[in-house]
């Protein structure tokens, strides 16, 4: 099989080109020598099956950022038949270095000058034959966004697949030495590119003047975030409810009649174990699609870098950057897509630190538990204050965690970002991204989540001769066994079982309480109000807020960090912090006589 590597600088539309040529056939893959996911697709090109790999956007093949070394290690460990280099035509004066660097390795190359429409608008013209001759490689103009020139580029690529190319070992040797490229590039730009006197960046500058205004910039940013948040969750919640409704219908009308003669342990395993696991996975699909539809718009329009500019001053003190803040805010909706969204951050340490704080954001699933508990234990006047204080605790734990761990995950990556001109992403671009992210989540997380749901089902249903979720089950025994640890924070055996359920997903905690107490709705609220006082309830809520949000979050943490150690750290840290905060609250409140 032939292999094409797609190289380019960030924000040149390289991935847009990749999505356009690969359609929906792209897969995430692992490669020798590197530890990050890369997208790859197989296409039929000139009679060969060709694998095309979308390498991270880099500024410099010889640079030392994380992405730059990924690209180098990829080339040093994987056979590549052809390099397709995508550059932004209107910034060719500084981007041409990358083409020359790749060329210098001896790889067969073709150069695609993308965004031909923008270059044309700015009045930049290219002497393509001249550039081709000096670079000694085919040069073509394309518009990846609109598709102009893309089929021709593929045809050209097919023509160069059989050429002699250096082995990975030779490339490894090559990459040791280098220079003189800078001078060459200046000479070529000077002789082949003509610039008009002034580029027309007026529109972008005008928008920036409003969106980056010293006073209005931040309020506009928060307003925009609020609107996006509302958009995701007002559209997402009915979709989630629709999926839950359809799954329940299927269960009641098809699965339950089908399994009614099966042994009860078997139907329990199938329905409450596996089928509920599938339901847990399915509930995330609408939110992930919507989140990435919105994030693609924010990212590709160029606003994400500008948001980073606006909030960086605050985040720098916590060892995070502005992009991390956007993801953290999104985490208040749902942690899972927010964790996946941290992929825009290039420095691994910065990304890990951001991933460590996101699970502490009070997500909408936890909010459901708190709404129920506050309605049970507090008056309608007190309830909003209690909720507000929980949000404050959430922010406080985020700040605390960032400050404690910023030394461990200190980022050496300087904060220097290019501000691209504002662009309109095409619907196709947006849709492809949403779809790819969902598939990524399904393939990587579903097994983990279903196994976890099965495990919790087993814990709360065995031994099978006692009522489910009662003190006699394994979960109940764990609850009793943990009593010395949980009593000092005011959590009794029954609440401990609810916490074990809550490990799967916070959405099911209220349902679990109903099973544990054997009551529903108002009756459940009345019994809980008599059994628990407000101090115990608050302590339970604090614990629920801080400990591991859900199995899906854990699965995502593991996939995105590619490190079980990091996942365990996040798990243990949040459990430990939850206990300490609840302990301090509970003991202080009791000491004060409440």
């Amino acid at each position: 099989m032939k292999r094409i590597a797609l190289l380019g600088m960030p924000n040149t539309g390289k991935s847009t080109f990749f999505n356009r040529v690969s359609g929906a056939s792209a897969r995430v893959g692992n490669w020798p020598g590197i530890t990050v996911d890369l997208m790859a697709a197989k296409l039929l090109l000139g009679g060969h099956i060709v694998e095309i790999i979308d390498l991270p956007g880099i500024y410099d093949l010889h640079g030392f950022s994380d992405d730059e070394s990924v690209v180098r290690h990829f080339l040093e460990n994987n056979d590549v038949d052809l390099a397709v280099i995508v550059l932004n035509g209107s910034q060719i004066d500084r981007q041409l270095s990358l083409a020359l660097q790749v060329k210098a390795l001896g790889l067969p190359c073709i150069l695609l000058l993308n965004m031909s429409d923008e270059a044309k608008k700015s009045g930049i013209t290219f002497n393509l034959p001249g550039m081709q001759q000096q670079l000694q490689m085919p040069v073509m103009q394309i518009s990846a966004k609109h598709g102009n020139g893309c089929p021709e580029a593929l045809k050209e690529a097919a023509r160069h697949l059989a050429e002699q190319h250096p082995s990975p070992a030779e490339i490894r040797e090559q990459l040791k030495n280098d220079d003189t490229i800078e001078n060459q590039m200046e000479a070529i730009v000077k002789s082949t590119v003509h610039y008009p006197a002034q580029l027309d960046d007026l529109v972008t500058s005008r928008i920036d003047r409003v969106l980056l205004h010293p006073w209005f910039g931040l309020p506009l940013f928060f307003a925009a975030m609020y609107l996006l948040f509302q958009l995701i969750f007002t559209l997402g919640t009915p979709l989630q409810e629709g999926i839950a409704w359809a799954l329940d219908l299927f269960r009641a009308d098809v699965l339950e009649p089908l399994l009614q003669h099966a042994p009860s342990w078997f139907s329990g395993l199938m329905l409450d174990g596996i089928y509920n696991g599938i339901g847990t996975v399915a509930a995330f699909i609408p939110i992930i699609v919507l989140f990435f539809l919105v994030m693609t718009m924010v990212e590709d329009s160029g606003y994400l870098s500008r948001a980073a500019f606006l909030v960086d001053a605050l985040m720098a003190k916590m060892g995070l950057d502005g992009r991390g803040f956007v993801m953290m805010l999104m985490g208040f909706g749902c942690n899972v897509p927010a964790l996946m969204g941290t992929r825009v951050m290039r420095s691994r340490n910065m990304r890990l630190l951001t991933m460590l704080v996101i699970p502490l954001s009070l997500c909408s699933a936890r909010l459901q538990v708190f709404l129920f508990m506050t309605a049970t234990l507090f008056t309608p006047k007190q309830a909003p204050l209690v909720l507000f204080s929980l949000y404050m605790v959430s922010f406080a734990t985020i700040f605390l965690t960032a400050i404690i761990y910023k030394g461990r995950y200190s980022s050496t990556e300087p904060f220097i970002l290019e501000l691209p001109p504002y662009r309109f992403p095409t619907p196709r671009q947006i849709w492809l991204r949403g779809w790819q992210e969902v598939r990524h989540f399904l393939t990587r997380a579903s097994k983990f989540i279903i196994i976890g749901v099965l495990l919790v089902w087993a814990l709360t249903n065995f031994p099978s001769d006692v009522p489910a979720a009662s003190a006699g089950t394994i979960a109940g025994m764990i609850g009793t066994w943990l009593a010395p640890v949980l009593n000092p924070v005011g959590i009794d055996g029954q609440l401990a079982i609810a916490l074990i359920f809550g490990f799967v997903a916070k959405e099911i905690v209220v349902g679990a309480l109903a099973v544990i107490y054997g009551l529903q709705g108002d009756a459940l609220m009345q019994v809980m109000a008599t059994k628990l006082d407000w101090v115990q309830g608050m302590s339970f809520m604090l614990f629920t807020l801080i400990y591991t949000p859900c199995l899906s979050t854990i699965a995502t943490l593991k996939n995105e960090s590619k490190s079980i150690g990091f996942m365990m750290l996040s798990l243990l840290w949040s459990l430990g912090l939850a206990w300490v905060v609840s302990f301090v609250f509970y003991q202080t409140a009791r000491a004060l006589g409440y």
Binding site: D60, D201, S205, D208, G217, A308, A313, T412, I416
Partner: protein, 75 residues
């Protein structure tokens, strides 16, 4: 001689020195920070946040700590 962090928004200067380690230097060079290039500060973020600068046709944001490494001269 002064550094980029002291340049006021709306004014421009010429880069006359970059005092950075290898990786930062490479990164800056790839974004167009070279000696002799004209650089303009477009705006500064509130609360001592990053600078928004323009070199040629490229807009870049960078923190004050990095801006201090770039020496400039104003004619």
């Amino acid at each position: 001689m002064s550094d980029l962090s002291q340049l006021q928004p709306g004014t421009h200067a010429v880069i006359c020195g970059i005092d950075a380690d290898e990786s930062l230097f490479q990164r800056l060079a790839a974004l167009g920070f070279r000696i002799g290039k004209k650089i303009e500060v477009i705006r500064r973020a509130s609360f001592n946040g990053p600078l928004h600068v323009r070199i040629g046709t490229t807009d870049i944001i960078l923190r004050i700590t990095e801006a201090r490494r770039i020496q400039i001269s104003q004619q």
